[in-house]
Amino acid sequence: MREILWLLKNYYHVLLFILLEVLALSLLSRHNAYQHSKLVNLNREIAGTLYKNIEGAREYLYLRKNNEILVKENTRLRNRISEIENQHPATSPTFQKKGSYLYTTARVVHSTHFKQYNYITIDKGRKHGIRRDMAVIGEEGIVGIVLESSANFSTVLPVINRDFRLSVRLKNNNYVGIILWDGQSPEFAILNEIPQHAEISGGDTIITSGYSAIFPEGRFVGTIEEFEMQEGNFYRIKVELGTNFFSLFYVNVISNFNQQEQHEIESRLEQ
């Protein structure tokens, strides 16, 4: 008995070390799924507020560039309005389909670029109707998917996170593949599962497929930078992402009103 006490007294720190490491690693594994703990939500609010103030100062440095982007967007939207007006909106089926999406503008308050698992924090949360699994796009292409929201802030899983997967297709010939990130450069992603009998060439446009019910169909993702044959039947394609994650200040969050319905039908079919 005395020896056990002696052991405990002299080696308790080894036990404590093992305990704390197990605790840390269990946090790690839970994080790889979805984080749900109140702790994370509380901290998103604190960290979000802090980052928001800092970001406010940093934004001044990029005013000129942002102005240019806004001007471009204005032009594009004006064109779009006139296009729709020409089409008699009430009777046009494509217009009704697009109408089932709601856009919310949000500001990026924090983002990382050079980690393996990058995240973006935006300043809109549950109060503004932001929920998990909503799509996030920028002016120049898709950005990511909402991972979790608290009252005023949300965490976005961007394309440049190794957990990211999205079904996309080639604009030219409709072959569908999966886009993911290999953790190398924040400017490029990898497109898999395009069969080798598909004809592709550098510069081909890649857009969202709409299969996931998260992203509307036909959103710009990026262009083919280079590709190579690999073993098996698929290409390995390197995609230059449309979105520049370094100068991302404003994003649009898209809520899909039909998402629930699409999920229900899909799960009924699986049964």
């Binding site: 840390a24 269990s26 670029h113």
Partner: protein, 168 residues
């Protein structure tokens, strides 16, 4: 005693804020990330009980993790160096041991001693951190390059800080 405790607690908060607001924005080409915050573990007094070291390391890593959305990663790495620190100190102790009322700093034990102490602990921390982050050994070399370069950068900032901020 209380003065030393307060000083360390204040340092804890300053280092966490400094890390998430300043250091996390310094990333050169994806290879260099300085993790300056481990200075907290390095500067704790020699007599710090082991459980304080471990719990302190846990809290420190967790605070960083909460800000960077990496729950568990920094925590695991920081607890590891908190656990190893006593052995490193023992291995590199001067012949007469550490004198009372001194701290692990350049001011008391010189540049060489502090540089070795910093380099070893930083290297262990970064090894753990970067390999947990990628979670495979496929890109062993490219990850190792990141570990080595970041170790140099972190150690350099820590050693420089000894001349400018934490002089005594």
């Amino acid at each position: 005693m209380i003065r030393i405790a307060t000083r360390n607690i204040v340092r804890f908060f300053i280092l966490v804020l400094f890390q998430v607001l300043v250091m996390d924005n310094i990333q050169l080409g994806g290879y260099l990330n300085p993790y300056f915050y481990i200075l907290f573990i390095l500067l704790l007094p020699f007599e710090t009980p082991r459980w304080v070291l471990l719990v302190g390391g846990f809290m420190l890593g967790l605070s960083i993790d909460l800000f960077t959305n990496t729950l568990g990663m920094h925590t695991a790495a920081t607890v590891l160096i908190a656990f190893i620190r006593p052995w490193i100190l023992k291995t590199f102790a001067p012949r007469d041991g550490y004198e009372p009322e001194t701290f692990p700093r350049i001011y008391y034990y010189g540049f060489n001693w502090f540089a070795i102490y910093t380099l070893i602990l930083t290297f262990i921390h970064h090894m753990a951190l970067f390999y947990i982050e990628v979670f495979n050994f496929q890109d062993f070399l490219s990850t190792f390059l990141r570990v080595v370069l970041s170790t140099v950068l972190t150690s350099a900032t820590i050693i420089l800080s000894q001349y400018f901020i934490f002089r005594k």
